[in-house]
């Protein structure tokens, strides 16, 4: 199972999907586009402690994390 992890006030919300299920992939891609369209940043884990920004949906990524737009604090 792959997971899309969306940071929110509850800590995070996880959306798991089967990367072999075409319908699930379509839903995950739609979620990816929706979130990034809202300004969320997407990143995938590439190794222990390593991440890279995800500019486009990658159905093979085991974990993709989304965090809201950054602002000065």
């Amino acid at each position: 199972m792959a997971a899309q992890i969306v940071m929110d006030h509850t800590g995070d919300t996880r959306h798991e999907f089967d990367p072999k299920d075409a319908a699930a992939i379509a839903a995950a891609e739609a979620r990816f586009k929706e979130l990034t369209g809202l300004g969320f940043t997407a990143a995938t884990r590439t190794g222990p402690g390593k991440a890279e920004l995800a500019r486009s949906f990658d159905p093979t990524a085991p974990e993709t994390i989304f965090f809201p737009r950054l602002q000065g604090g």
């Binding site: 006030h9 509850t10 800590g11 995070d12 920004l53 994390i65 965090f67 950054l70 000065g72 604090g73």
Partner: protein, 361 residues
Amino acid sequence: MADRTRDHVLERAALELRPQLVDFLRACARPPALNHVRVDYDSRSDGVITHLHFYDREDWNLIQPRRDFADLPLPALDHYREDIRSLYSRLYEDELLRRGMEPARRQLRAMIEGGASPPMIESFARAMSVREDHLRRYHRSGDVPLYRYGVDPGRPGSDRTTVTVRARDVRRADMIEAAPVDAHAWAGLAAQHRAYMLDELGLTFGLPGLFSGPQVDPKAEARGLTLLKAWLAPEQRADYEKHRHFEVTGGASGKRYRIRHGRQMNIDELDAEGRKVCGWCFLPEGQLVAGDVMLAQKIALETGELAALQVANRIGNVPQYPHPRPGLRHFDEAAFIDRATWDFAARAISSPVVVADWSTS
């Protein structure tokens, strides 16, 4: 917390807490410059305090005979607790920031009167407006009923509620916003002081968080930390578990950053020897828990450093300022909340509080 236990503690607090709060206020709840407090209370409604005003001068010609906090009528405890919280906020997160903005306003007026070019005036005014909005959004809101005691209706920009903090030239911002940045640092320090001291107060009565306001959902907090640890490298995780901070390397510059546990003002840029160069403050929008914020900061610095720093506020860059800046120096000393910070706060207080009382009857 069982209601019965809480009621017991509050009852005990009503009897025992007040003298401690008086000392507490005298010792901690006041920056050095603000020595005078005017307390307005409504004698027709059980002495509930209605206004607190703070002054930094002694020539207040309407000052009333001195009174002590202990002499004030004891309002309902809930009111009193709100007063305490508002006292902190009013002192630190409102008054100091307002004072910090005044030099910038004076400079703007001087530019206008001196015939500076309209684009320059507009640029300065825009930068100042962004800063004001930022200060109001991040340092004058939250769980504290700041404006129960009224606001300054003449404060420029007070009617704006949102603003996009745009990317800007950090060096130029440092130049034109030195005073607000100083105030920002003070506010951050004060907010940390406040949280720390209120926690201490709660611990005095055996109930952590009693005076600290609404608490973060512990489940959300735990989820955030679990997620953070899962995404940290092993050495980062070890550092975090041991020291509550970890280091990351900027993806573009190769610079070292230390991310301390927290949500704001928790990023230190380090030099090659691990000494703090300055602080950076950015975080994701929304009310995210600390673990989420730290993870977003890590990913942003490692994979999109320049974009993150474009929106970030830079804090405490002491060497670039032309004159000594004690506020920032102290802020750097107190970068971590520990006993030394507490001691620093105590040392900062040098003269007794003078309290005057204006009844509104």
